[in-house]
C-alpha cells in the first residue's frame, strides 16, 4: 500500500474528509498523528468574505504533492504516512480548503511533516484563490511567485513578506 495519498477534491463532486485522512495515516506502529485543516474564514483585511474559489493547475499540483511527500520523508525519515488533499472550485465560509495529515512513530516527526507539507502546499504549489466578498466584489489574492526558487528544492517555510491576514486558517 502506498504511504502517501495525494488528492484534489472538486467541490462540485465531494467535500474534503478529515476522518478519511486520519484513517489513511494510521498504523499500528505509529503513535503520533498530526493533522492540519484549513477552512474558509469570513473576514479578510476588514472585508466580509462570502466564499473562495480555488483554481489549480491540477497535473502539476499533484506532481508537487508527490515531491512534498518525498521531501517530508527526507526530513523526518521513511516511517511516515502522509495525506494531502486540497479543494478545487467554489467554497462557502466554513468549508474545508485543505486537509493534511501525517502519521509517524512519535509526535515530533508527525508535527514536523505536517507543518512542512502545509507550508509547501501554500507557497510552492500551483493553486490560486479568488475571494468573493459579501458586497459582490471578487479578487484574486496576492501570492508567492514560483520564479523565486527551483520548485523541486524550494524551502517550504520561508520568510518573505506575507499578507498577515489570510482569509482562512
Amino acid at each position: 500500500m502506498a504511504d502517501h495519498f495525494l488528492h484534489v477534491a472538486d467541490r462540485a463532486a465531494e467535500a474534503l474528509d478529515p476522518a478519511a485522512a486520519l484513517e489513511f495515516v494510521s498504523d499500528p506502529g505509529f503513535g503520533g498523528v498530526a493533522m492540519f485543516v484549513g477552512r474558509v474564514r469570513d473576514l479578510n483585511q476588514g472585508r466580509d468574505v462570502a466564499g473562495i474559489s480555488y483554481d489549480l493547475y491540477q497535473p502539476l499540483a499533484l506532481a508537487r504533492f508527490a515531491e512534498i511527500a518525498e521531501q517530508a520523508k527526507r526530513e523526518v525519515g521513511p516511517r511516515l504516512r502522509l495525506y494531502i488533499a486540497h479543494a478545487k472550485g467554489r467554497l462557502a465560509v466554513g468549508e474545508l480548503a485543505v486537509v493534511i495529515a501525517a502519521g509517524t512513530p512519535h509526535r515530533d516527526e508527525a508535527f514536523r511533516a505536517c507543518r512542512l507539507a502545509i507550508e509547501a502546499v501554500k507557497h510552492t504549489t500551483p493553486i490560486w484563490k479568488q475571494e468573493h466578498y459579501v458586497d459582490g466584489d471578487s479578487e484574486w489574492t496576492a501570492g508567492c511567485s514560483l520564479c523565486d526558487a527551483p520548485v523541486a528544492q524550494a524551502s517550504p517555510v520561508h520568510d518573505h513578506a506575507h499578507d498577515p491576514d489570510h482569509p482562512q486558517h
Binding site: 493547475y57 502539476l60 486540497h86 502546499v121 504549489t125 500551483p126 484574486w140 514560483l146
Partner: protein
C-alpha cells in the same frame, strides 16, 4: 515556434477559453516570456509588467526556468504567484 499557453488564477478571463497561442522567436522559456510580454503590452492593459515578471511557466510535470528549452509539444501553463491553502 508557436506555443499554446493555458492561463490560471488572475490571468483567467483574459483570453477566450483561458488559452492563447503566441509565436516565439527562439527556443527558451526566456524567449516565450518576451513574446508574452509583447502580447500583454498590446492586449492586457490590466496586467502589469511586474505581475507578468512574477509569473512562472510550466509543463504538467515541472516549472521551467528562463534558460531552459521550450517543451517539444509547445504546450505550457502560465502560473501567476500562488496562494493555496
Amino acid at each position: 515556434m508557436d506555443v499554446e499557453l493555458e492561463l490560471f488564477g488572475t490571468l483567467r478571463g483574459l483570453e477566450p477559453g483561458d488559452r492563447l497561442r503566441v509565436p516565439v522567436a527562439g527556443g527558451t522559456v526566456a524567449d516565450l516570456r518576451a513574446a508574452l510580454a509583447t502580447h500583454a503590452a498590446a492586449r492586457w492593459p490590466r496586467v502589469t509588467p511586474g505581475l507578468l515578471g512574477s509569473c512562472a511557466f510550466a509543463t504538467p510535470a515541472a516549472v521551467l526556468r528562463d534558460g531552459e528549452p521550450l517543451p517539444v509539444d509547445g504546450r505550457m501553463a502560465v502560473l501567476p504567484p500562488v496562494s493555496g491553502g
